[in-house]
Symmetry: C2
Subunit: 169 residues, 2 copies
DNA sequence: CATTTTAGGTTGCAATTTGCAACTCATACG
DNA sequence: CGTATGAGTTGCAAATTGCAACCTAAAATG
């Protein structure tokens, strides 16, 4: 079975692996956030193979995470631009970078995220309740949503029965 | 060039692709959050090939994102447990699921994240300034950190010069 | 206006990674 | 003792990646 077929349901995390769960896609999005717009620039900055880059960009455009626009000033050139959907990924990218800096780079981060206006460091991304309280892993649980299929509901029941609800901590 | 070699620096987002930027790893972590602990259960729930699962678990253990513990009650069995580092990934997983539900599943999410105590939906994960204000993409910028190598600093300078600073919006 | 360069790809091929089934090895169960 | 189970490993076919070369249209150059 391939990753894309896991729970053919609308499980959001399964769907997301379609995007960032394959090599290069996350780095391509990072480049786009850094201002890169052109095919050759993505290639040069990342060192990604051109055929793979081609496939990745197509997929991102398909998913409405990049917009492919012909340049007005140079009719050879094409611009890949962030969309509302990909811009909305920013908290995730910041959070991933913070997490990685802490746990994978042992605090030696080569990049920092700061508030543009003040230059102050962005505080750690957190899960908060409606009233603003910060929540720990053990305070959060995953439940089947309105569009869960019976298979997934059964899967959750198994998990709850076997493991005493979601094990966040 | 392979993805892992991009900027051999400590760029946190580049490092993170080593973990979740390859097939299955994110789903394995999701399973762990759902309470799965055993090799055969990961295989059955995800439908992942056993050899690939083996490689993924080894890597996650290497990176201290899972802990491999021999079961006390059954000496054949092994438990893969979340660590402090992987538990700290929760905000990211919640954020990714929220984002995906909104932009990839068109609102038809099969899973929801709720506060365990109250059952109330977790609000959208956001980037906030130190004073708590929510920040948009255009309010955030990436800058070289204390451990950036000259190559990365140059890369940022190019980006700033060429694109008028980081293009978040 | 002929020539060269540039932008954005595609193609072919070798190397790596994945998917699948079968096999191993140690322990548990009956 | 015989069988089943947990946690892998092994071998092989299929898919994906990395690399270099090639292509086409549109600038730029002289």
């Amino acid at each position: 079975m391939t990753q894309e077929n896991v729970f053919k349901c609308n499980c959001p995390l399964a769907r997301v692996t379609e995007v960032i769960g394959e090599p290069w896609t996350l780095m391509v999005l990072r480049e786009a956030f850094l201002g890169t717009r052109h095919f050759n620039d993505f290639e040069r900055e990342l060192g990604i193979a051109r055929n793979v880059l081609s496939v990745r960009l197509k997929k991102l455009v398909d998913l409405d995470l990049l917009e492919r626009v012909r340049s007005e000033t140079d009719r050879r050139a094409v611009e890949y631009r962030l969309t509302d959907a990909s811009r909305d990924l920013l908290p995730i990218l910041v959070g991933l970078a913070q997490w990685s800096g802490k746990w994978l780079c042992e605090g030696h981060s080569a990049t920092r995220f700061v508030e543009r206006a003040t230059g102050r460091e962005i505080p750690r991304i957190a899960v908060r309740a409606v009233d603003g309280r910060e929540l720990a892993a053990r305070d959060v649980t995953m439940v089947p949503g309105p569009d869960a299929n019976p298979e997934l509901v059964a899967r959750f029941e198994r998990a709850v029965t076997a493991a005493g609800d979601v094990q966040g901590g």
